[in-house]
């Protein structure tokens, strides 16, 4: 019940914010902040009081289930396990950060902007909670459209191009996923006579190796585009660079994670054999992303574009960890997702802050900002250092676990991935050097970080440190039997319980 309330809160709240702003009743920013705060409270309260159901060896909380389009076996099925919960938490938190980071940036039609922001977040929350494949697809599309508007309306100089590119890449790959979903449902119907989109039922679909591989590819490509993996990444630098700050924060912090979440939740459990077969290729893609992203990040002169390419590099670690096929790798991947959520969001917020102050993103025109803005510099230094994998901070936990897991699976690929460890300081420290170090420019007026920015960055920094030193706060939630690739732990879908979830509303 709590989840549907949460999603409705975001959808309806979005409309309210828009209307309130048009009627000049309230400040859209404050209203959005309050809404997201309520959402966070709702989620935490619900989670604290929730009973759980065990299905396929995982504990599911906050389940909600009512029929929707019964003729096709489509239901509104929502529930979270530890992974989903953590992801929803991240989404709402970064929503707050996004609102704060664009506090002064959005000047026209604030109401519509925050409407789009809330609807994107609603879509993302839906993606992280939906356990009906049709519903999942609906949410997948819902998060896309408002994001398109955010980039296309409030973006920077080349926004139309970037927004369109983002839309086409996601849409085209989403179509492949729709095909794969329909195909999967069709094969399930052929085998058992049940027409359903229920996740738990579909876990047990009997597939021939070849069909399984193709269907798996359909899902994988959609998620790889979102992730993004190298070769299908090229929407990301444009979209991240052109989006307004809040858009970049949400894109990097949350939207990319839906791709990784999709792989963990759908690709691997639905197609265990095909995924195992595909694992080394996927790991190679991950390594490709790590190195390619890092090398390109180093080449950039546009601050936001540089940070965007580092995202590709970091998400490569996630891909590597997921397909390592062991507990270490998977937990590392989840940790990297969270850590990257914090650091990339913080760095984009910083890039936005700089652009707002000096009206350029070109690093060649920056330098020596430490003199004028030491507080901002210190925060950025912290997050850059976190991004390059300093032990004691969250990113290290993630990357280390990923690498140690990947090393077990395939030593040589891991050796290549370690090049990423060397390249990470090369680009991270470049940012510090180009922006904050160097000859001070006395003619540039530059205000230091204000209270709003300090609060925003401080919150993320605290989370980064806490996760880095006490990763168990999160990992324990997530770990309990994440689906691994065979032969480590073959997924055994408990069909009867799955059907139980299908028939009775759980709460």
């Amino acid at each position: 019940m709590m989840l549907i309330l949460l999603i409705m809160l975001l959808f309806v709240g979005g409309l309210l914010v828009w209307l309130a702003d048009r009627a000049r009743l309230a400040d859209a920013r404050w209203l959005t902040l309050i809404l997201l705060g309520c959402g966070l409270g709702l989620l935490l309260f619900g989670y604290a009081n929730a009973g759980s159901v065990e299905v396929v060896g995982r504990q599911w909380y906050l389940g909600y289930h009512i029929p929707w389009i019964q003729r096709f076996g489509i239901n509104l099925t929502l529930a979270v396990d530890g992974l989903g919960f953590v992801m929803v938490l991240l989404t709402l938190f970064l929503g707050l950060v996004a609102v704060l980071s664009s506090w002064r940036e959005i000047e026209h039609s604030r109401g519509f902007f925050h409407f789009n922001l809330l609807w994107t977040l609603a879509g993302v929350v839906g993606v992280f909670t939906a356990l009906d494949l049709f519903l999942f697809f609906v949410f997948w599309e819902v998060m896309l459209v408002p994001m398109y508007f955010i980039i296309a309306i409030w973006g920077h100089e080349n926004r139309t191009y970037a927004a369109l590119k983002f839309f086409i890449f996601t849409q085209a790959s989403g179509l492949l996923m729709l095909l794969a979903i329909v195909g999967l449902v069709y094969y399930q119907y052929q085998a058992s006579g049940i027409l359903t989109f229920n996740y738990f039922v579909l876990l047990d679909t009997p597939l021939t190796a070849q069909v399984g591989y193709w269907l798996m590819l359909g899902f994988f490509i959609a998620f790889a585009v979102k992730l993004p993996a190298v070769l299908v990444h090229s929407w990301l630098p444009d979209a991240h660079t052109q989006a307004p700050t809040a858009g970049s924060v949400i894109l990097a912090g949350v939207l990319l994670k839906t791709g990784a979440y999709g792989i963990i939740r759908f690709v691997v459990p639905l197609f265990p054999e095909a995924s195992a077969q595909f694992a080394s290729l996927a790991m190679a893609l991950g390594v490709g992303s790590i190195i390619y992203g890092a090398a390109l990040a180093f080449a950039q002169t546009d601050l936001k574009r540089l940070i965007a390419y580092t995202s590709i590099s970091h998400m490569g670690f996630v891909l590597l960890g997921v397909y390592a096929g062991n507990e270490e790798g998977l937990q590392g991947a989840v940790m990297t997702m969270l850590a990257h959520g914090m650091t990339s969001a913080a760095l984009f917020a910083f890039a936005g802050a700089i652009q707002q102050r000096i009206h350029t993103r070109d690093m060649r025109q920056m330098g020596g900002f430490w003199t004028r803005a030491p507080r901002l510099g210190a925060w950025v230094l912290f997050f850059s250092v976190a991004a390059l994998g300093m032990p004691g901070l969250a990113n290290f936990v993630g990357e280390f676990l990923v690498l140690i897991g990947a090393f077990k699976a395939n030593a040589w690929i891991t050796v290549a991935a370690c090049a990423g460890l060397i390249l990470a300081p090369v680009y991270s420290l470049l940012v510090i050097q180009k922006v904050f170090h160097g000859e001070p420019q006395p003619e540039r007026q530059l205000t230091d970080a204000g209270t709003r920015e300090v609060v925003m960055l401080g919150m993320m920094a605290v989370i980064t440190v806490v996760l880095g030193l006490f990763p168990h706060l999160i990992l324990d939630l997530v770990s309990g039997g994440l689906s691994l690739l065979p032969p480590d732990a073959p997924v055994s879908g408990d069909l009867s319980v799955g059907l139980g979830l299908l028939q009775e509303p759980i709460n």
């Binding site: 090049a419 420290l429 050097q433 170090h437």
Partner: protein, 611 residues
Amino acid sequence: MLELLWLVPTLPLVGFLLLVFGRLPRRLAACVGVGSVALAALLTLLIALTFLNLPQGEQVFRQSLWLWFQAGELEAGFNLYLDPLALVMMGIITGIGFLIHLYSVGYMAEDTAFNRFFAYMNLFVAAMLILVLGDNLLVLYLGWEGVGLCSYLLIGFWYDNPANGYAARKAFIVTRIGDTSMALGLFLLFMQLSTLDIQGITEQAQANWQPGTGLPVLAAALLLGGALGKSAQLPLQTWLPDAMAGPTPISALIHAATMVTAGVYLIARMHGLFLLAPQVMLAVAVIGAATLLISGFTALVQTDIKRILAFSTMSQLGYMFLALGVGAWSAAIFHLMTHAFFKALLFLAAGAVILSLHHEQNIFNMGGLRKRLPLSFWSFMIGGLALAALPLTSGYYSKHEILLAAESFEQAGDWLWLAGVLGALMTGLYTFRLIFIVFFGADKTSAHEGVGLVIRLPLMLLCVLSIVGGWIPLPFAGVFPVLESGHGSSTKEWLGTLAPMLGILIAFACFYRRNAIVDGLSRSYPGQLIRRFWFSGWGFDWLYQLFLITPFMCLVAINKKDVVDGGYRLLAWFISGLHRLLSFSQTGRVRWYATVILLGVVGFVAMGVVR
């Protein structure tokens, strides 16, 4: 008392946090910065007193703080481990650290970023303490990267000069290459032994692995990579001379006394594993010998006072590696300690000289400073004598032990010994070249020693330590396997003692006064060539620039626009071309459309008729 072990790294860490978030006034900042390290040193002393009273064989203390990592088979707690080795390192770090902090109060008095400096320094001390106290390789790695970060921050402390930033990044990235090798070593050890506890690894490795087989050799070699990077040994040594861009107390603390010895500590700590890999041990010895010779020659032609000391540091680290390689573990740590005393002294004295000359670092712009800067002169003299290992100074005892161990090493022992003795000669030569040029000869400056007590006191204390440090007994019985070193021939022993004196004599002959032969030699064409070759540090930078950096930069520059994106742009271009082609048929002329409709109708009718 031992239960307070966790407090030792925590105190400087708290100092760091206070300095960062506290916005303290300058005086208070100095109190916090120095005080936290002083407290840590005091606590270390108390812990040492308790610890050394434990009966031998039980001198181990383990403290579990919390469970840090747990995933799958991996389980690593945030645990501290105290044994005599860690204790000695702790003593060096907090003791020397305190003296250098005190000195910094005077040295940095004029700097605007006073608080930032002490914040970084405190963070460094905390990280270094965690490094030596780590019970498992993960905690050690945390400290390892932490000191690297602080080194980066402090080398680039004066950020307004891009050259400093470059040196800082170079230091971080080059050591990161080593660290990555070390991380791979960690992965390998974990995969094979399912643990990262240092003691656990040692036990399991000795139980499961045969000496000299592939796995221990590979694991030891990968760890060695990390040690080479941190300790500036061949081939990852190029960052250390550039690291002198930082303030001089940093060079003393990080790039002489503590951080650069982390590699030595790592190998000593993992000696159980290294003993299983004799090939790697030999490599350690050879690398040490090569580094000590190469940097000795390089130091001979440098003109910057700090760079001379930097190359000398590399050279002395080479001695330590040589000792480790031949299995003389305690000799290596002994030399680590004495080196920390006299090299810190030399750097601090150099700092005093630089301060008195208003940041002049070229030794040829100095001269005759003996009268003008008596304290610096005597500090330099004592430090130099200890560095050159003249009898009765601390350096003599440690270096003597190393040479003795090298001599009795069964594989190529003679050659290693020869390198060591030649290095000792070079040490005397370049050290006293520096001293003669800077402190003797014609008076070229108008400096006067206007340094306060906070600078004098550390210098004097370090002078004392540099002399008597050789008599400090190290409690290493039972920690390291004992090396059965038979007495070498007494001729060799005499040679080892006399070599540095010979070096000093040569320095006296060549550099005490301007010498026509030396001038002629260095002006001649081959002399110039060799000079330039040595001056550049034997061309390593040039080599890396040519084979690593330039190709990488080229690749990156070519691909700046992202080839993959280029592919998609090509696709988009192709499709829009197609679109343009089709839109030719749309002329906008109604009559043209009507004609086409007519043709279409006729065509369809014709199709119907023909059929």
